[in-house]
Symmetry: C2
Subunit: 225 residues, 2 copies
DNA sequence: ACCTGAACACCGTTCAAGT
DNA sequence: ACCTGAACACCGTTCAAGT
C-alpha cells in the first residue's frame, strides 16, 4: 500500500481520517500532525488538499450535515416546526464540538439549507410573512445554538474531575438567607439541570414567534409594538 | 518601581493587566507570556496567584459581571423581564470573547446571581410556578447565549478579510431555481443580518414562555401536551 | 505534480534552582 | 516566601528542497 504512487491523499481521505480521529479521541485530538500520522504522511502534505485547519473542520461539519435525513413531516405547521428543529438539534448535539467551531466564527453548512427551507415554509404556512419567517427562524435557531452551547459547556465542566468544582466554590460564596425561596432554584440552575427537554423549550419559543397570528399576550397588546 | 520588593504581584493586579491587554489587543493577545511581560515579570510568577489560564479568564468574567448595575425596573412583569435580559445581553456583548469561554466549558459568574434572582422573581410575578420560572429562565438564557454566539461568530467571519468569503462559495453551489421564492431570504440568513433586534427576539421568547398563563396558541391546545 | 524534513514562531505548564 | 531560566511537550504553518 505504501509503495510509490497509489497511497494518494485526497480531500475525502483527509475528512475520512479526521472523522475517525474525532470519533475515537475527540475534537481536541484532531491536529494536523496527528492526522498526517494517521494517513502515513507528513503534516504538510495536508496543505496540498486543504487550505487551513478551519477548512478541514468545515468539511467535517458539512459531511455531518449531509447525513441528515428528512423524516416524514407532520401536516400541522407548528408540529412541523418542532420536528424540524428537534432534528437539527439532535443531529448537532451528537457532535458537540461543532458548537466550538460555531463559536469560533465559522458557520452554515450548505447541506443544511434544505432543512432551513422547510422551516421557512412552515413558518409561512403558520401565517407569517416571508420577512417574519426569516426573523422567526433566526430566533429559533439562536435558541438552538444556545442550548447546544450551554449543554456542551456544562458537560465539559463536569468532565473535568481533576479541577476543584467551580460551582461549589461559587455557591459557597452566596448567603443563602438572602433570598431563601430561590436558593434551591439557583442551585439547580447552576448545576445546569439536564432534564429540561429541548423539545419543550423550542415549543415555547415557537409559540412565542407565532403569537402574532393569535390572541394578544398577557400584557395587553399594542399591535404597533 | 522595579526595585527589590514593592513591585508585588497579586490576583487583582493580574486581572487589571489582563483586562487592559484584552481591551487593547483582544482576547487572543492574552497569553501568560504577554501578561508576564506587561507586569515586568516572568510567566511562572503568575502561577503563584492563579491556578490556570482558565481561572484567570473566569476572574475576568467575574469582574465584568460585577460592573453590571441594575437600573430602575418597570413594574409590569413582562417588561421587567425584557429589561433584565437586555441588560444581560448588552453587558455580555460588549465583551464577545466571553462567549468563547462559555463555549469552552466555563460558566456562571457569581456576580450575575442577583440579576438571575430578579428574573426568576419576575417570571413568578407573571404567574409561573417556581419550577416553571426556572425552566423559563433556562430557555430565555439559552436564547441569549445563542444570540451572542451567532453574532460574535458572524462578526469574526466577516472580519477575516483575507480568507475567501465562505458564504459566497456556499451560495454559488446552490441552484437558485430550486426554491426561488425563498432565495432572497436564504441569502439574508446566510449573510447573518445584523439588524434584527435582540429585544424583539427575547420579547417573543418571553411571550412564548408566559403562554401558559394566557389563551391557547393557534394549533388549538391539548393542555396535556 | 506531489510529497517531505527541518525550521519558525508560537503556546501553557513543570521543575529545579536561585534569592 | 516569592520569583525565575531553561526546558518540555506540544501547536499551525512556511520554506526550500527533494523525487
Amino acid at each position: 500500500m505504501a509503495v510509490g504512487r497509489p497511497a494518494r491523499l485526497s480531500r475525502d481521505s483527509l475528512v475520512d481520517a479526521a472523522e475517525s480521529i474525532v470519533a475515537t479521541d475527540g475534537i481536541d485530538a484532531l491536529t494536523m500532525r496527528r492526522l498526517a500520522d494517521e494517513l502515513g504522511s507528513s503534516p504538510m502534505s495536508l496543505y496540498r488538499h486543504v487550505r487551513d485547519k478551519d477548512e478541514l473542520l468545515l468539511l467535517l461539519i458539512e459531511r455531518r450535515a449531509a447525513e441528515l435525513e428528512l423524516p416524514p413531516l407532520p401536516s400541522d405547521a407548528r408540529e412541523r416546526l418542532v420536528t424540524l428543529f428537534v432534528l437539527l438539534f439532535d443531529s448537532l448535539s451528537r457532535s458537540p464540538w461543532i458548537v466550538e467551531v460555531l463559536a469560533k466564527g465559522d458557520l452554515v453548512a450548505p447541506s443544511l439549507l434544505p432543512v432551513i427551507d422547510r422551516i421557512l415554509e412552515a413558518f409561512v404556512a403558520a401565517g407569517l410573512s416571508g420577512e417574519e419567517a426569516g426573523r422567526a427562524y433566526h430566533v429559533a435557531w439562536r435558541y438552538t445554538v444556545g442550548e447546544l452551547t450551554v449543554r456542551h459547556s456544562t458537560e465539559r465542566h463536569f468532565a473535568q474531575l481533576d479541577r476543584e468544582p467551580l460551582l461549589v466554590r461559587i455557591m459557597a460564596e452566596i448567603d443563602p438567607a438572602e433570598l431563601p425561596s430561590l436558593a434551591d432554584l439557583r442551585l439547580e440552575l447552576a448545576a445546569g439541570r439536564r432534564d429540561a427537554r429541548y423539545e419543550d423549550g423550542i415549543g415555547a419559543v415557537i409559540d412565542g414567534l407565532l403569537r402574532l397570528t393569535c390572541s394578544a399576550p398577557t400584557t395587553g397588546g399594542d399591535p404597533s409594538a
